[in-house]
């Protein structure tokens, strides 16, 4: 079984702002384009939004994202102030999101509303909710980890 803590990692380290203790590292020698994009997106979000950095500092979870129409995925291993991005799905995931590329983009465009909850009643939110109802967005491990999903969504959202 793959163990993120004992495997090779940190080939490419991205240190964030001097004031920020958060860091994003890549487990693979050659991160996939998708891994680089998600890692870069989270890095930029955390760097520019103190509230996202607070979420980043507190989050401990392994989140898989599988993009069904390009057959590629990543595992985001949040370790409380540090993120390790793996190419592909790795074991022992807290949550796994399986959906198409467009919905991945919609997820990162979800607005965050009152109490830090994602907004599902505007156009983007309704689109995401509809995909969930249609089974085109599947979230494994959702029920026991709703709070984790909300935290990940906040970190991931560019809105």
């Amino acid at each position: 079984m793959h163990d993120a803590d004992s495997g090779r990692m940190a080939r490419r380290r991205v240190k964030l702002d001097v004031d920020s203790r958060a860091e994003v590292v890549y487990a693979d020698d050659e991160p996939s384009a998708f891994a680089s994009m998600l890692g870069g997106l989270i890095e930029a979000n955390v760097r520019s939004h103190p509230e996202k950095e607070r979420d980043f500092e507190s989050l401990k979870a392994r989140v898989g994202i599988w993009v069904t129409d390009i057959d590629e995925g990543v595992t985001l291993d949040f370790k409380g102030g540090k993120l390790v991005v793996h190419n592909g799905l790795k074991p022992r995931r807290t949550l796994t999101i399986r959906t198409d590329a467009d919905t991945v983009m919609s997820l990162s465009n979800l607005k965050i509303g009152l109490f830090g909850l994602p907004v599902y009643y505007d156009e983007v939110g309704r689109g995401v909710a509809f995909k969930l109802l249609q089974g085109k967005l599947r979230i494994e491990g959702l029920l026991p980890n709703v709070l984790t999903l909300n935290t990940v969504t906040r970190i991931f959202s560019v809105q």
Binding site: S32, A33, F34, S36, M37, G40, L41, A44, N45, S48, V67, D69, I70, E72, A101, D102, V104, M105, S106, S108, N109, V158, Q159
Partner: protein, 140 residues
């Protein structure tokens, strides 16, 4: 009438398509950065020299779209780079630009949160390219 791929006529047709699109006008509201498309050379496909497309986009409008050297496009705030064949795939709806970026087939340089925020606008711009009848050099 068809225009030569990545020519000045193509740039004008592209600008007209973008400015005709009410979807782009709404989705591009607030955008204020330049976008450069670098089309890498592929001599085997009769596309011998790299070209750059510089797009001056502002608040849902294409103010100017010009074709010139790749170096001009590389100076833009956002730069998307791919070989000629990939761009042809995008412009003929064989490759979805979002998927292309996630797969690394189109290489993006620029602030990621900003470009992700304008996903709908960039998808509409891609659709605009597919509406232009084009003469492709590798099909001549």
């Amino acid at each position: 009438m068809a225009v030569k791929a990545f020519s000045n006529e193509w740039a004008k047709a592209f600008k007209d398509e973008v400015n005709k699109s009410s979807t782009y006008k709404a989705a591009g509201k607030g955008w204020k950065w330049t976008v450069g498309l670098v089309v890498e050379a592929e001599p085997d496909s009769h596309f011998p020299e790299a070209k750059g497309i510089v797009m001056d986009l502002f608040d849902g409008e294409a103010r100017d779209i010009k074709v010139g050297p790749a170096s001009d496009a590389q100076k833009c705030d956002f730069v998307i780079t791919a070989p000629y064949t990939r761009w042809k795939e995008v412009a003929t709806s064989q490759l979805d630009a979002t998927k292309g970026m996630l797969q690394g087939k189109l290489k993006l340089k620029g602030d990621l949160p900003t470009i992700v925020r304008y996903t709908k606008a960039s998808q509409e711009m891609t659709l605009c390219t597919t509406r232009i009848p084009v003469e492709w050099p590798d099909e001549e």
